[in-house]
Symmetry: D2
Subunit: 461 residues, 4 copies
């Protein structure tokens, strides 16, 4: 089948935080079937201009197959008008706020390993992100109502939900690579368990995905006609105590994003489904008594609490690298990121259909979660079309843990859209990570966070 | 409208625990529109025979309008064959088991104010009740498939659910008087707030009911064209700290079934809906950090933990009274019980339609709870017909607290029907009252309870 | 229970066609528990002023218990602002248009017995009514968003649906007396079959209602504890051939609104449910080959085609009577209309709860019709509250006949709101009364009607 | 990716009618990734034995890549026990019965172009097929409960539905090639309209499928990033009058299975969706006045009524060919059939995932058809997994035409399972092809068909 190259006009909102932008640039550069223009829009215009130079420099290289033109735009209107695709990957607020999100609750016995999705940190992050996404939704409705919108920002579910609440006809979905990590673990397992000698491609591990972003689950997994669940049971039982690491340079002790999968194994042995996210994300969805009681408990589960101070340092080194890449001192590495965004773009452009997992409002793809909740399942991507695959139902023993987060999603969404502090506190009080506090202690923590964070929350007074 | 008296054939299963049986006898005796026969069946045959004598002695009194003939039956078949109505009100197991249900978890920081509905006690009680109700359901299917079945036993939701799981065509519903207590509180309020001078009839307080038994809610209440919610807000705010008592002889300090409604007021001010059950029941549905942290916390909320030792003593005095009533030494008091069972029987028999709250599988009466869950709402009772009234939706801020119990209901139901200890433990671990324990502590408590209770659990080895 | 009289502010939209207005005036006059003001609004201001005089004259009579003040208003704003209740009973267009609705299709073999609900006539009537109701909905949203809205206009389902489509929070429902006629028939039956000697009150016949307005059904009926369905079966079988008439002065041969119930009996024997509308309405919902093949077939079923010429004459006599009533030459007869509007007002005002059948968007009250469809079932009326009662499901053998009308309702609603002639023709072509025409014949009839009617269709060019 | 060959054990039920069996044999022979055994079971044992010889002869050929062993089995138990896959492709009854199905209604003005899916013929065929499928379902439940079951028999929807009604856990789906024909038409169109020069592979035409088997629809179609709907609109408009034929040897005048697609074009221009079945099937789902008024009307639409006499003749020549193939006088032609059964087997065996359209009970894949109805949509096929893709909703203007068939499916299913003639007649009377008859004429035709057919209807007396 010989295709002409498909051409796309893309608006890239955000991306100033660099890492993600360069990965996307590399993936686009590696893909011969697509070409087009990327309009860069960031409230940090300087960052956008550096990315423009980096992107265009990359396109000029002879080893690049997918040629793209990068242009900075300074208004949402200019960025969006007439595009085919909108990619949103922003940092809502700064690390100063994230410092509060993550660390202010610690004196109250709430240790958040990430703090961007659920718990007190996830809640406040959502409250300041929703008004921003409201603005994006209105802008998309006005200037690019037919465009496909890909969200990478956290809190994923609430970002996607806001787009749909404000503009129900939006063609938006959310992408997250956490599930891929579990596929990688399964790919390691089939080698480790002697099923094959060479590690298979991650995408050869077929999985059925169902759940909420960062707390999603696999109830069927197979590889070349072999059911992987019985193997995973043996694997989890064997590694439950000590954990499992692939033996690369990155270990749970030197890398915040790595774990020994002990939480995953424990959850499998409790519920019978494979948890499909990093342990640091999963832990935040369960009672603090399980994995997050205190830093020692966390260490015993062989994963880490990611301090915001690390993020600050890391950002500095990315900024330095941005200048080197823009000046040509350093070259963008032409390696696939492992993300599936470009696969999806190819499918939507009509080049080649694909199946991948995404976050979308539930229309029955998960049979026992309510309609409208943004959920994560597989979807079939084709020309101008993203259709969820019916993923079936969650087992009731797991369901109760998820439905409380489902209700939270709805409450937080409404609290954010209405700028309603009362409702926000109701959500806060009902968060599993807060349940060990008496309501009056919870009120104290909430007030403290509100006081520190509300000055930088757009639209909240 | 002049009716002939309608005649009913009733099977009364259980009732040996006396109090309920005599109340029903009195209500039947007071109702001129009904007559018929009551077949008494109890595994404690002696108790049934005493009730037979008490009932027939009552019917012989000249001041009794509704004449009924009472007969002890010694097999389920004889009790059920051909009846119009089955009333079930049993004690699953003995106080010896209830002692374990309620008190074994205390050393683990779990103080249960009732222990018959949710929490570790409610779970184990359910596990031993479900097999008994399975047998009832099969017997009803065989001998009285068209009969109306009224359940009074706890755990209410799981008893009703078991009947429907085993025999989906069963015409069963569950009755509980907890909602009436909140109506009484509202009736007191309208006097206390000066709306009327004389306390109105409880049934004049019109309410919309939605929730799960013992954790059910009122989102609309009115009295003679006055919306009671704004008044209740003021009332709850004023009495939040000190509570409210009607000033009768029974106070929260001398009666286990009385409270100062502080939990109810607190829940209203948190969620905006009127909780419609006794505080002792409501408290068990929320994190232990809220109302049940320890006995002191419970006292500060002005309600009590009901010790099983009290139940044992109380039962002894009821037994003595049974002998006096049977011998004629004492007379049954001809006073309305305040229950609505006889109103419902009248409606089902075609005498007079009524609206009351009942427990039934959800068929949409609560818009945002899943189908099949046994929920509590109003229903319209008419000749051979009980139709739920559409109650609307629960607010999302409250929903998450209820949906975890919804999932528990499903898991426990399946665990009980399959006699599945693994599933039972999954439910145990996911119970809000257990959330402060680490999974391994939870396992320890579960094993301890299982060891003590399994010998007397029919069908579990 | 002693109530103070509740006071209501009512907007009455329309009513110039007189009959309905006077019935409501009489019902209000007979009810001691209510009082208040009725604001009359009609595009025929002269008619409104006559009604104002008639109403106030009535209120001045000493035999009137419910005193109301009537006032003509000349703008929707003045009529609606701040009212508690809006009653809408309009004639969409004039008899000139209705002449086309009903009679233009006759040369094509389409004989419509009423022509205001379904078929070509119902469709065009809907297309011109929807824009009017759009305006009403906007006006209610602006000036009386909390008011209860009672609709009496046909096509009932599409009027109510339009209100909800335009203003989803509207508190509207639709009332129609057709079901009462079937209750009356059942009341006659119980006398005729010897169950009682004196005809019972219509409301003593308890029924479960489910269906679409004018094609609604009773699947359970009882009277004083007797199931009426077996009796109705015998009754229908016995009277299938000859029909049944109560023997009053009105017969199917001298009164267009009377029938011998042969269609009703035939439908019962075909489907097993009691059709609950006049035969003239029911016939229009089935293939023309059943009851409406030609005027002879209609006569053989013992009901009549209502010619519009009769309506014109009747209107003239009503106008003459209006003048007599306004001048005092004639007095309004103080007899209950048999309608339940005032019962409903009493319930909504908090005087006394009631159960009656109404038209409301489906929220599950009919289990196997889709959400949003305006359906007819019982509802519980209480203070500021109308809650559908769960009516169960329609049998599949009947369902297909109704679901085509369900789809029509949605298509016509959208056609009307979008002023979309293409969609309107799709609905026309899919109407059961049109099915015997080839698509090209159907197009010919549609064009002809469109040409005649579009000049007087507001908002359509 | 190098796979080992996956091995399957297949039960093939039926197949004596030959054509389908040989196509499957050829497809299996052409596929290198699969091997295994096919157990042949047919009530015509002689036919099975001939197929056994034909299949094994084929496997012995050196040009065959997929080697299969064929074995005749003489009991359902022996055929089913332990298999991985069951393929069912039977002829319910004989052509003698089909003669009545198709031609008995003609004197009543009912001309059925196929008569195996809907209409009087489809109904009676269903009534005699359901008991057979009940037996299959029981046998599968007993001997092969984990096997995948592929149905090819008509009436497709009712065959699949019966399997699920009797054994709800069955892993069954139904395959039909009608959709492929419309894909072929679109493939021809893109050449004809000059988009490409060489006809593309059918599977390159990506479509979204939603509807009922033989009356299913395409609302999105694309080819290499081009939306095909605007092109199809022009194409349909241009060819509406004269039709479109690809110009091969087969024309609508010499081949019963070929048409000029005029019905398809007409339906598109009426409803805006592409009908995805042969015109002969589609025509049967609409009022007779549209395409089937009489043989002349049918001719004007350029398709044919398939007479059963042709089927009888055709069968004879197939039998003769069977003998030649078994004896080696003739060789099976090794050409792909165009069916997707083997693609699906490969996916289920874990070789390669695929997306294809299938018939399955609705679990929300079509948003506005009721749950449980067997519907046709795309599904994702993977190892031991068939998951419907969410297809969206049907437009309301088309919905009414389909929902009447949805209701019919349910009524006929129940009539068949209960052997209930009354219910069967209710379905008959409600069939669109019968609507032009008065109920008494309909009764006459029904009785006549029942009389002729009931002697050969298993389980009906
Ligand atoms: Mg993520
Ligand atoms: Mg209770
Ligand atoms: Mg009406
Ligand atoms: Mg087919």
């Amino acid at each position: 089948m010989s295709h002409v190259q498909q051409s796309l006009e893309i608006a890239y909102i955000g991306g100033g935080s660099r890492g993600w932008a360069w990965k996307l640039m590399a993936d686009l550069a590696l893909e011969p079937a697509l070409t087009g223009r990327v309009r860069l829009y960031d409230i940090d215009q300087e960052a956008a201009r550096l990315n423009e130079r980096i992107g265009n420099r990359l396109s000029s290289r002879s080893d690049v197959k997918g040629k793209w033109h990068y242009e900075t735009r300074t208004s949402l209107k200019d960025a969006l008008e007439g595009v085919d695709v909108v990619i949103i990957s922003i940092m809502p607020g700064t690390f100063k706020e994230m410092e509060v999100d993550v660390h202010a609750p610690e004196p109250f016995g709430i240790y958040q390993s990430v703090g961007d999705t659920t718990g007190p940190g996830g809640l406040f992050r959502a409250l300041r992100t929703i008004p921003i996404y409201e603005e994006f939704a209105q802008a998309i409705k006005t200037w690019a109502p037919k465009a496909w919108v890909i969200n990478y920002t956290n809190p994923m579910a609430l970002c996607v939900r806001t787009l749909y609440e404000v503009f129900p006809e939006v063609k938006a979905f959310g992408c997250c690579h956490e599930v891929f990590g579990t596929q990688e673990l399964l790919a390691s397992m089939v080698v480790h368990e002697g099923l094959v000698q060479d590690p298979p491609q991650r995408r050869e591990i077929h999985i059925n995905v169902l759940g909420l972003n960062h707390c999603t689950w696999i109830d069927r997994a197979s590889f070349r006609g072999v059911d992987l669940l019985p193997m995973y049971r043996r694997f989890a039982e064997r590694h439950r105590e000590e954990g499992f690491e692939t033996g690369g340079e990155r270990t749970w002790e030197n890398d915040y994003f790595t774990s020994a999968h002990k939480v995953k194994f424990d959850l499998f042995l409790r519920f019978g489904l494979i948890a499909a996210a990093g342990d640091r994300h999963l832990a935040e969805f369960f009672p603090v008594s399980w994995y997050l009681k205190d830093p020692e408990t966390v260490r015993s589960w062989k994963f880490s609490l990611t301090p915001v101070s690390w993020r600050v340092e890391n950002q500095k080194s990315l900024e330095a690298r941005a200048r080197r890449l823009a000046s040509g001192e350093e070259e963008v590495e032409l390696a696939p990121s492992g993300e599936e965004g470009v696969l999806m773009l190819k499918a939507i452009a009509g080049v080649e259909e694909t199946v991948s997992n995404v976050n979308l409002p539930n229309r029955g793809q998960i049979a026992n979660l309510p309609p409208g909740t943004v959920v994560e399942t597989n979807a079939l991507f084709r020309y101008d079309s993203v259709q969820p695959v019916q993923a079936g139902a969650l087992p009731s023993s797991l369901l109760g843990h998820l439905t409380r987060h489902v209700a939270q999603q709805e409450t937080i969404s409404r609290a954010g859209l209405e700028r309603n502090w009362d409702l926000a506190f109701r959500a806060f009080l009902s968060d599993p990570l807060v349940a060990h506090l008496s309501p009056s202690e919870a009120e104290r923590l909430f007030s403290l966070m509100r006081e520190k964070l509300s000055p930088s929350m757009p639209g909240w007074e």
